[in-house]
């Protein structure tokens, strides 16, 4: 039962009521980052249409970078990463404007 902070950056906060930072007290069954992603899709995202902005084929949509405590989740085991108290999980859309 971890307390984690989840951030939605790069404009991705549109899927979560424009609130960039969410402090979550996770239920016991949310153990890994993979579980957290499902939890976000089912609980945090209120408009079902917005799930497609966040997920594609069950995974985080291409163009979104996932970070665990400011580190690329590729280096942390991706969905397998087991959440700990006070972890910060950030999702950021890639920007393309210039």
């Amino acid at each position: 039962m971890a307390n984690v902070t989840v951030e939605f950056l790069g404009g991705l906060d549109v899927v979560v009521q424009k609130q960039r930072v969410h402090k979550l007290h996770l239920p016991a069954e949310v153990v890994s980052v993979g579980d957290l992603i499902e939890y976000i899709a089912s609980t945090l995202i209120k408009n079902p249409r917005d799930v497609a902005v966040f997920l594609e084929d069950g995974g985080v949509r291409p163009g979104i970078i996932t970070l665990i405590n400011d580190t690329d989740w590729e280096l942390e085991g991706q969905t397998e990463y087991v959440l700990e108290d006070n972890d910060v999980v950030s999702f950021t859309s890639t920007l393309h404007g210039g």
Binding site: L9, G10, G11, N47, R49, V53, E56, R61, P62, G63, I65, L67, D70, T71, D72, E74, L75, S90, T92, S93, T94, L95, H96, G97, G98
Partner: protein
């Protein structure tokens, strides 16, 4: 102003500019500070003194590194504009600028290297003028072309570092792929709204490339440009300036193969300003551009086998038949008979507030989708609408309005829906130029 005197005005501006350029040439040939790439002249000591006495630049040695550096900047827009003067000011010896766009008034809130007198001028030439005045020692080479798979290698060859200041995923993949094939380091940045991102890619031909970070392109529907999504000038500007810092560090050898750690910096301007540095993955062995089994090569790029258009895709807005569309001049006639017709503006409400036609109802596209095909729900927003109503749909440029037309016809079963071709901006251009465009 009469045609003749505005012609004369334009001629005067052109002559002034020509005069300025000739003076510049004269200044350079007569009193050039430069003395060759291997040493500094006295005026150069004076010019660069304030940065040479910052110990970590390496003093004279560092300045000579800057002087012999060749940096290519792709894009003289929101990122390139603030970056370029700092590169020139610092004494980067050769600066290439690739951009085939011309300056527009709507660029100037962020692309501050240009100015109101340069509207219509090529951005690369406008930037060259400014850099030449800022530091005549710098050699500026301009490429007034749109970077593509067929010209990229020819342009990139001979440069040490490339700065990706472009504005689409397509050019970002292309810049990275070409740089990897030429062993060049890329300083890559982007911005939108109040945020920006920055990274150093293919560092010394051993760091991760753009494809390592983003092996799969984003769906085209999720990609917004500055003209669509909006951008705060200094927010993208700060990221452009950060690019100049990274470039100078790369040239001075502050980063080495030993100490360089892949990163992605994220700047947020609102509500509180923050810059965060995320630790990123290294080069990916399975990367098709820089990994162990590469398929993105000079040959496959230049032959068109690597098809960037297909890879990145594009949004298809052409979803209406000709009879489902109405021109802005016909719209003008219908406006006179608005009793029965519903004119629906589907732009976001903060766009609508800036300017809109009279007698319009604003239901943004996103909200329209959320009504879930329910005519009852639609009627709660537009009481007079029925399945037999005549509905005209308008947006900014006539893209989203086509999607909305489809939605209303196919999902809400409203029979007589037509899209206003070209949108509000075309209406303003052709019918009522007194309305504000943004």
């Amino acid at each position: 102003m009469s045609g003749n005197s505005s012609d004369a005005q334009a001629e005067l501006i052109r002559l002034r500019r020509e005069n300025e350029l000739l003076r510049e040439k004269l200044r350079q040939s007569g009193t050039q500070e430069g003395v060759g790439a291997d040493r500094l002249s006295l005026p150069e000591y004076e010019r660069y003194g304030r940065q040479m006495i910052v110990e970590s630049t390496g003093g004279v040695q560092g300045q000579l590194l800057l002087k012999s550096a060749k940096v290519l900047v792709v894009g003289a827009g929101g990122l390139g504009s603030p970056c370029l003067p700092y590169l020139a000011g610092a004494g980067v010896g050769t600066i290439g600028i690739v951009d085939n766009d011309t300056v527009e008034v709507s660029n100037l809130h962020r692309q501050v290297i240009h100015d109101s007198g340069k509207v219509g001028m090529l951005k690369c030439e406008s930037a060259r003028e400014v850099l030449g005045k800022l530091n005549p020692n710098v050699k500026v080479v301009t490429y007034p072309v749109r970077l593509d798979y067929s010209n990229a290698f020819r342009i990139f060859e001979g440069y040490d570092i490339v700065l990706d200041c472009t504005d689409t995923p397509l050019t970002r993949y292309l810049v990275s792929d070409v740089a990897v094939n030429l062993g060049m380091t890329v300083v890559s940045a982007s911005g939108l709204g109040t945020e920006g991102q920055l990274s150093v890619l293919n560092f010394q031909d051993c760091g991760p490339c753009y494809r390592c970070f983003y092996p799969t392109p984003p769906p085209p529907t999720s990609v917004a440009s500055c003209s669509e999504g909006g951008v705060i000038g200094p927010c993208i500007g700060i990221v452009g300036v950060m690019m100049a810092v990274e470039t100078i560090k790369i040239i001075l050898g502050v980063y080495t193969k030993e100490n360089f750690k892949p990163f992605l910096m994220m700047y947020s301007g609102f509500p509180g300003q923050t810059i965060r540095t995320f630790k990123m993955r290294g080069r990916q062995p399975q990367c098709i551009a820089c990994g162990t089994e590469r398929t993105i090569t000079k040959e496959t790029i230049e032959s068109g086998i690597v098809n960037y258009n297909v890879f990145c895709g594009s949004r298809n807005y052409n979803v209406c038949q000709p009879e489902e569309r109405i021109s802005v001049s016909d719209l003008q006639d219908e406006l006179l008979d608005m009793d029965t017709t519903v004119l629906l503006d589907v732009r976001p409400s903060h766009h609508y507030k800036i300017s809109h036609l009279p007698h319009t109802v604003n239901v943004p596209m996103k909200e329209l989708r959320n009504l879930d095909r329910s005519v009852d729900a639609l009627q709660s927003r537009i009481p007079q609408i029925t399945e037999s109503s005549d509905v005209l749909v308008i947006c900014r440029h006539g893209n989203e309005s086509q999607l909305a037309t489809r939605l209303l016809k196919d999902e809400f079963n409203i029979k007589n829906v037509r899209d206003v071709t070209g949108g509000l901006f075309k209406y303003i251009d052709e019918i009522d130029p007194s309305m504000p465009k943004y």
